[in-house]
Symmetry: C2
Subunit: 354 residues, 2 copies
């Protein structure tokens, strides 16, 4: 899969570590759910209609000027490992990767845009931006949505808005989300309070890999729960307002750690670094957790691991199971991966001595 290998050689968009508030807001994502008029929803599609949509979408993408550098991957051409690789890069969902029948995904070269074909809806169009930049992500998906509609008609009801397979997406079909790195709120045991407040505001908090995943390595993905009855701009602004507050809390917690718990905190950061530099076998969840602390240490200028922030961020991705196997170019079982992961991390951190 030469096109996939191309991705493996670049940092994922969501870990570029640039853009506003990128010390806390790792990435912003906008997603639109769309269904093609004249076809039933996914569950009711016949086998022919299924194939018809996969073909139709390939045609549509090719006709869409702004997607001309995108690659259209049909799932029959992807191995399980390839799909897991795309999940790890946040380009397809875990659910989509696990589907049996034919599916497809179109991905732009810079990985900013992906269109999942036949996920829960016929089309799931998403755009990523590094940092806190929902507006730009919204501009991009909006533009692509408009372009697509020049060649395909989506199911739309004048009263309800866009029609979707699951009622929670009816209306705008929009989900806005931000991935936040909140190590200080976790260390100061305040993150629970934040999550409780969010759920009252009808916002969801998820882990690194979306729906149904646990928060790992102090990463939290916040998103709107409802799309009906609100304009796109309102949904985005509501989420953004909350994110701004969470960002402030995390900043305060970082200050608190620096001022009030300096000794203990520096010890934690350095020990995390020491463990990464010395382990001979390490799980992805432990490594993610330790890298999170090292990243915090770098942001707070307590430690210089000799890597750019972007390189350090990229390590979060490289240590995931499919990435590890792509890099070492062989199938590895779980305990082999733990060893390969430890080797890879030591190699990346070898520039700096303790």
């Amino acid at each position: 899969m030469s096109n996939l290998d191309l991705f493996a050689r670049q940092p994922a968009e969501w870990l570029r570590s640039s853009g506003p508030e990128s010390e806390i807001v790792i990435s912003s994502r906008l997603r639109l759910a769309r269904n093609v008029r004249g076809f039933p929803f996914l569950q009711k599609l016949t086998a022919e209609q299924h194939d018809e949509i996969v073909d139709l979408m390939e045609d549509t993408v090719q006709k869409t000027d702004v997607l001309k550098d995108a690659t259209y991957f049909r799932y029959r051409d992807l191995t399980d490992l390839d799909r897991q690789f795309l999940v790890e890069r946040h380009l397809i969902s875990r659910e989509h990767a696990g589907e049996k029948g034919e599916r497809a995904v179109s991905i732009t070269r810079n990985e900013v845009v992906s269109l999942m074909v036949l996920e829960e809806d016929h089309l799931r169009l998403q755009a990523f931006q590094s940092g806190f930049n929902l507006q730009e992500a919204w501009r991009i998906v909006g533009m692509i949505d408009d372009s697509l509609q020049k060649s395909v008609e989506f199911s739309f009801n004048p009263t309800l808005g866009y029609l979707t397979s699951c009622p929670t997406n009816v209306g705008t079909g929009l989900r806005a989300s931000c991935m936040l790195h909140l190590p200080s709120l976790v260390l100061t045991k305040q993150v629970h309070k934040v999550l409780q407040a969010l759920s009252k505001l009808n916002l969801a908090a998820r882990g690194l890999y979306g729906e149904g995943t646990q928060a790992t390595g102090n990463f939290f993905q916040f998103s709107n729960q409802m799309t009906l009855g609100q304009k796109e701009e309102e949904i985005i602004e509501n989420l953004a307002a909350v994110i701004r507050q969470v960002v402030e809390h995390e900043k305060e917690a970082r200050q608190y750690l620096r001022q009030k718990r300096k000794g203990k905190f520096e010890d934690q950061i350095w020990r995390a670094f020491g463990a990464l530099k010395s382990a001979r076998a390490i799980s992805s969840s432990e490594a993610t957790q330790l890298l999170s602390l090292v990243q915090l240490g770098v942001l707070m200028e307590l430690l210089d691991p000799g890597l750019t922030r972007q390189d350090l961020n990229t390590l979060f991705l490289l240590i995931q199971p499919a990435h590890l196997q792509k890099i070492s170019d062989k199938t590895l079982n779980s305990s082999d991966r733990d060893i390969a992961r430890a080797d890879l991390i030591r190699q990346h951190l070898s520039k700096v001595q303790l």
Copy 2:
């Protein structure tokens, strides 16, 4: 205390890492309990008798040729820190250090011999040897005991033998003990079985700092419980026979770790080293535990910390509270010590990079 400072600049005898089986048997110790004829036991001494014995022992030691390079420390001349320092070097007992009234200890320059005056008995004479060498320790205490008896008469009963303050010491007044480092038996969870077997043989297992202390850093001190009804040589040979078996068990456990659990084991060793090289604050018990693993790694040639075995062993001592304060030449509270300890360890391990 210039004489004490002199000790601080040399490795303690029990950590020289030389002598038979010194990869497992850290040190061997022989102790004799003696009381001066014509005086009641400690609890019944008057204040004058108390002082008389301290003076008498100073005279006696000075007259004893084999002790001519020994220093006679009176407790009134020692600070609390000095006494704790001597406890850490195993030259006096914790109980002796904690006494209120006047006490004394005579220590030879090489720290092989110490004579505690007015511990539980009027005199507690002990000799250390590095490694598994009870015979040599016995030869030394025997020789000193004979020399002392040229100028002082000890309480002795032809039927019972030497009389002592506590009945468990009556007879020979001898306690033989070996300090063993058993990290592999601990890692393979077999040490409990060994300790159970020992208690059936009427042998005691104690921690690094003797009676009432917990095993720390995988160090165990094994000794005879009874002294009555057995000859000195029997007591020593009984203990030695058991120690030989425990040594074999530890060797087998090291082989097992090397052959069957190599990956996991190397990971543990390296992580211990990483933690020592990176911590900014560390307790003495954690540091002792981690140093124990690093030492095992060195013995098994998995890791080269750039230190001789003796230097590494000496670290066990230097990180103790009183040693730390002697080295930094100031009083440190517990959390200051944790920081100073971490600094000291990093400094000692700085020759090698991870």
